[in-house]
């Protein structure tokens, strides 16, 4: 049905374009305001819009109607019961499509029959409607055409609107993210109090699977997750901060162009390695190595130690810190360097006493962006960090993070509406807003920093 509708749509659009163009081409070219192609495009758009509208309004409407009638045919009492209604509806659709496993009851058969006939009626109606609207639109479009008709302006206005719509997709995405996590989070807070969620010291969503235990006390405190995330991020920044910053300084202040040309790609390759690969390295090579060498030193190291995940995550964000800091350092005006050199300062003195203080804000924002990246990183910790929510700051123990928990809860079968599933969205909500805040602040700092030296 969808296919048929869009085939009709496409052929009508093509027809509209063709007629519009040939109508315009028949007129004397000198008198024409817009070129014939624009007239064609105008008619095509005139067809496209109403037909899309018919589809967008008609399909959900028909669906809703058919479902209501079918459920009514099955058992009118079901209308109020959301859960059972959904289940029955699934059965009806399955029977209607002929992929119901088992023997459908007579009532179900009847309902399915209603559903099927309604759907075929509505489909036919939709296609007929679309066709009618399309033909009308062609007639209307062709009537508006004249030599002095400003087809190009109309078409261009349409194009501008389309361009704007594309630009708004990004905003829509953000809105989508906010709403999808916000609603589930609010539903989660109906079961678990926000205070308990934010300040609880225990995290064990597994215990809440049983209905009578849903939201039972102490199971949804995110403090251990915050601690775990913080621990791994701290290790990552301790690794990546100095290495990234020093390599940025070297590249910006010391390196010859040829050395830069060699090192830059190394950083880019590192930045381009998918995190699942780094996670593989962390889990299967680095973590066992750390555990074994810890064992040699007489230390008891967990096989999913925070240290391994943290180090590899640090390696992941080195290119990030390095390239952002490199940009920031390069944005420091040459005149400041000259001023310092002319005073007889060495390069390192210039870097330490003039360039870094001047670039401080920018470097801080680079670190903030890196932290946000590390906090939101999933695969490395999923593969290399643990599941147990230990409240510890010992890097040799296993800890868990926000992303690990979201992934653990949502992968595999989930029952919807359980506190456990909703908790994942609440975690996502916290994660999203934490990283968003960091990003907004960091980007604001960078923007002001750039303005300062532009």
């Amino acid at each position: 049905m969808t296919l048929l509708y869009f085939a009709t749509l496409l052929s009508l659009v093509a027809a509209g374009y063709y007629f519009g163009r040939s109508r315009a081409a028949a007129v004397s070219q000198a008198a024409l305001h817009s070129r014939p192609a624009y007239h064609g495009a105008f008619v095509a758009i005139a067809v496209l819009l109403p037909m899309l509208a018919v589809f967008a309004v008609g399909v959900p409407l028909a669906q809703r109607l058919a479902e209501a009638q079918a459920v009514n045919a099955f058992d009118p009492a079901l209308a109020g019961d959301e859960l059972r209604r959904g289940a029955v509806l699934r059965d009806i659709v399955a029977v209607a499509a002929g992929r119901f496993s088992g023997e459908p009851s007579a009532a179900l058969q009847r309902a399915a029959e209603t559903y099927r006939s309604l759907r075929s009626w509505s489909d036919a109606l939709l296609i007929a409607g679309g066709l009618a609207f399309g033909l009308l639109a062609i007639a209307f479009g062709l009537r508006s055409l004249s030599a002095r008709f400003r087809a190009r302006n109309h078409v261009e206005r349409f194009v501008t609107v389309v361009l704007f719509a594309c630009a708004s997709v990004a905003v829509l995405t953000t809105v989508g993210i906010v709403f999808s996590v916000l609603f589930e989070t609010l539903r989660f807070f109906e079961r678990v109090s926000p205070v308990e969620f934010l300040f609880g010291l225990h995290w064990s969503p597994q215990t809440a699977i049983r209905a009578d235990q849903a939201g039972s006390s102490g199971a949804f405190g995110i403090i251990p997750l915050v601690a775990g995330t913080l621990l791994i991020t701290t290790i990552a920044i301790l690794v990546a901060g100095p290495i990234g910053l020093f390599s940025a300084i070297y590249l910006a202040e010391y390196a010859s162009p040829r050395f830069r040309a060699i090192v830059k790609p190394i950083l880019e390759i590192l930045a381009g390695i998918p995190t699942v690969v780094l996670g593989f390295f962390a889990a299967l090579t680095l973590a066992p190595w750390i555990r074994d060498s810890g064992g040699l030193l007489g230390l008891n190291v967990a096989s999913e130690s925070a240290l391994a995940a943290g180090i590899v995550m640090g390696m992941m964000i080195i290119p990030f810190i390095s390239s952002l800091s490199d940009d920031v350092i390069n944005a420091v005006p040459q005149s400041l360097r000259d001023g310092s050199y002319a005073m007889g300062a060495t390069r390192s003195e210039t870097v330490k006493k003039v360039i870094l203080p001047a670039a401080f804000a920018g470097i801080v924002s680079a670190f903030m962006l890196a932290i946000s990246r590390a906090v939101g990183e999933t695969m490395i910790v999923v593969m290399a960090a643990g599941l147990a929510a230990n409240l510890t700051f010992n890097p040799l123990e296993a800890v868990t993070t926000f992303t690990v928990q979201i992934k653990t809860i949502l992968v595999g079968d989930q029952e919807f509406d359980s506190a456990k599933t909703l908790a994942a969205f609440a975690l996502g909500f916290v994660l999203f807003f934490f990283t968003l805040t960091l990003n907004v602040i960091a980007l604001q700092i960078v923007k002001r920093y750039r303005e300062q030296y532009d």
Partner: protein
């Protein structure tokens, strides 16, 4: 033709041949290449002590390039190559024994655009003394900062704002701060690369006054676009054109009876 010429009044006290003063800087056969580009050809120039020497010439004539040779600032440009001999007080500045860091402490520099560090006024001036270990105590450092700011004629204006950022000052104040920063390590020579080009006339006048005072203690070499400025502040003038030194002599002579046709054309405004 004479009436289009810049009218120059040279104070009587400044008249007199260069030979009266000791020679501070000697340049012989200085050539500079920027990669493929030959920016400076065989410059020979003597610069007298405790006087202001102006380097003039049209844009791209090599005057700034020459200036940057004197404290080896060209070292910071990877593609730049300097040959020839430059001596300060008879010491070759390219002598491997002599350290560039020390050279720059002896030869201060002030740039075209004021470039105070984004630090406090105090820290800006204290920067040089600190990196060169000039002051042993906080008191000594304070004394150096205050006296440098005084000599740069800035102290009275900023004495209540020593802890404020140097970038918050006005353009003229910033440039005087840069001069204070340069003289805080008591250099022997101060290089000024068009120090007033970014300033308004009043700030320019203040800097020019300052230069006149400073020449009692320092050897000043200034690159300038403005012939009036060269005439006002300098005792000697060197004219550069297309990377060569065309003519050099007492400012009065250069502006009244230049020997070279090109000098005459330039100071009469035929090109520039």
């Amino acid at each position: 033709m004479m009436n289009t010429m810049v009218h120059v009044e040279v104070p009587a006290a400044d008249r007199g041949p260069a030979a009266d003063r000791a020679i501070k800087v000697v340049a012989r056969g200085v050539n500079v290449h920027y990669g493929e580009k030959h920016a400076l050809h065989d410059v020979d120039l003597d610069i007298p002590e405790r006087a202001v020497t102006a380097l003039i010439g049209p844009s791209g004539c090599g005057k700034s390039t020459f200036l940057r040779c004197l404290n080896r600032m060209n070292d910071t440009i990877p593609v730049a190559r300097v040959t020839g001999r430059i001596e300060i007080d008879g010491h070759d500045i390219h002598d491997p024994e002599l350290d560039v860091v020390q050279l720059r402490a002896r030869v201060g520099m002030v740039f075209q655009k004021p470039n105070p560090f984004p630090k406090s006024v105090y820290e800006n001036v204290a920067y040089g003394p600190r990196i060169h270990g000039l002051a042993r105590t906080k008191g000594e450092l304070d004394e150096i900062v205050v006296s440098s700011l005084r000599r740069a004629g800035l102290y009275e204006e900023v004495k209540d704002r020593l802890a404020d950022s140097g970038t918050g000052l006005s353009g003229g104040q910033q440039q005087r701060l840069c001069i204070a920063r340069a003289i805080a390590v008591s250099p022997e020579v101060i290089l000024m690369d068009e120090p007033c080009s970014a300033l308004d006339p009043i700030a320019t006048a203040k800097i020019e006054e300052l230069m006149d005072e400073l020449r009692e203690n320092f050897t000043i070499i200034i690159v300038t676009h403005s012939m009036q400025q060269a005439a006002r502040v300098s005792q000697r003038t060197a004219f550069f054109h297309l990377g060569s030194l065309v003519e050099e002599g007492p400012t009065e002579t250069i502006f009244t009876t230049p020997k070279d046709r090109r000098t005459l054309d330039y100071i009469t405004g035929r090109f520039g």
